[in-house]
Subunit: 306 residues, 2 copies
Amino acid sequence: MTGEARPKVLVTGATGYVGRAAVRHLRALGCTVHALGRHDPGDGIAWHRTDLLADGDLVGAVADIDAQVCLHLAWSVPPGRFWTHPDNLDWVGASLRLFRAFVAAGGRRVVGVGSCAEYAWDVPLLREEMPLRPDTLYGRAKAALADLLFAFAQQEGVEAAWARLFFLYGPGEPEGKLVSDAASILLRGGRVATTPGEQSRDFLHVDDVGRALALLSCTSMTGPVNIASGQAVRVREVLERIERLTDTEGRVDYGQRSLAAGEPMKLVGDVSRLRDEVGFRPHFSLEAGLRDTVDHWRQRLQDRVS
Amino acid sequence: MTGEARPKVLVTGATGYVGRAAVRHLRALGCTVHALGRHDPGDGIAWHRTDLLADGDLVGAVADIDAQVCLHLAWSVPPGRFWTHPDNLDWVGASLRLFRAFVAAGGRRVVGVGSCAEYAWDVPLLREEMPLRPDTLYGRAKAALADLLFAFAQQEGVEAAWARLFFLYGPGEPEGKLVSDAASILLRGGRVATTPGEQSRDFLHVDDVGRALALLSCTSMTGPVNIASGQAVRVREVLERIERLTDTEGRVDYGQRSLAAGEPMKLVGDVSRLRDEVGFRPHFSLEAGLRDTVDHWRQRLQDRVS
């Protein structure tokens, strides 16, 4: 952020999967973190208790924090109902309230968090300047919120960046996701029934995602930016690596399911802006990131047994 | 609306400039009107007191009303700060809460109200299917809300229509608008300093706007629809008619101001959908509509004097 190398950062969703990684890296960069939300992030982080979906004294809480940057990660929807749940609409309203309160309190920079689901998925390489055509209520809600944030920020003379997250994996991932489910099932001796796995996706370890968001919070880059690896990796390659890392070769049954309608063969994020304007490059290779995730699950399963 | 010729209609903004006309025509069509908002609409209309911007028991109120159709007109922003006020963001949130509550209560059709300010103004003839590119926070808020309404309604299997209002005039118009200001100033013996007046706009009398919205509420048309006359009329022609109607020829000084940046020379709404799918044609000619407005102001000024 212009003239403020180590800003005070208000973080929502600080206790979530991505939030924990972002907070860790914000502190590593020397930022002061103030968490705003329902749960105490612990670790000596200043916590301002608020339910963003309720209409408490958000304006007062945000003014008390008096941060220069707002990194808004909170967006909790009941598990498994992510794409379609009406709570997505409530989060648009809650996010707009937060942005307004933050700008009214003198905040200088807002970093919002969206998704590759904002794009049309009919081209493989997704660039920030492409027209958006989200297919789901979730994607539409994120895209609409981003548009309103940009309009509001431009009018009020504050900075706004919008991080479009791609496919995440790593320790702490909620259940129901590819890498974590495969690792935990294989480590427990189960079998995984899946698609032929020929579709390619852009995977980024959650720790790298958190670091990218922390860097983005401390730059003055505005507009949308893909948070991605820039590498298209076949799902089959990911699963074969997990099989090897868990010593369970042959226990993934490819082709047992077909790819869902609307799932394209290839999706990858263009990372020019992330690399050139945010200065981010991933630390984790795919192999190292998967090893880290498998180690996490191995540890968790041992803890459960012992 | 499918299978329900005279539905029960929940109306927000029922006491506003457009709302009063819409309610009058809904009742004329045989609909039962329930007003939801801060002000009592009077006239024997069922009133459910709620501040839509506050977080009261909206869900309960909407469920109590149990209407088939929701005509959502409320959107109040401090006078003169319409285009830029942050309250526009709050109205997005409030509208989404309303739509969600209405659908949860079993509502079947939502009619939202937007504006020609949702379009890019670089072509003269504005058609519903054109890509939107609003220049103002107000226009962006309306366009984003419409997009979320369509996504939500499609997912939930309810009907959603979105009325894009053009340039309104008529009795009861808030101050600061062309026709009312000209009529009231000229009738009081003042002079009007204005642009050369060569720009054309699409004017529709508020009573016709209200009737179009009432008809739209009772059809099953979905998607966006322009509420307009389909006629481009030069501003100078409008003012000259008002001069004649008020017997004040020569008291409008054209060319004293220049057209504001971003004001195009011509804007007119394509009315194919309104005519063919809603079945609406204006009742008021421009001359009759202006006469009605001038009569209204003459009466008001007499009331003031006497």
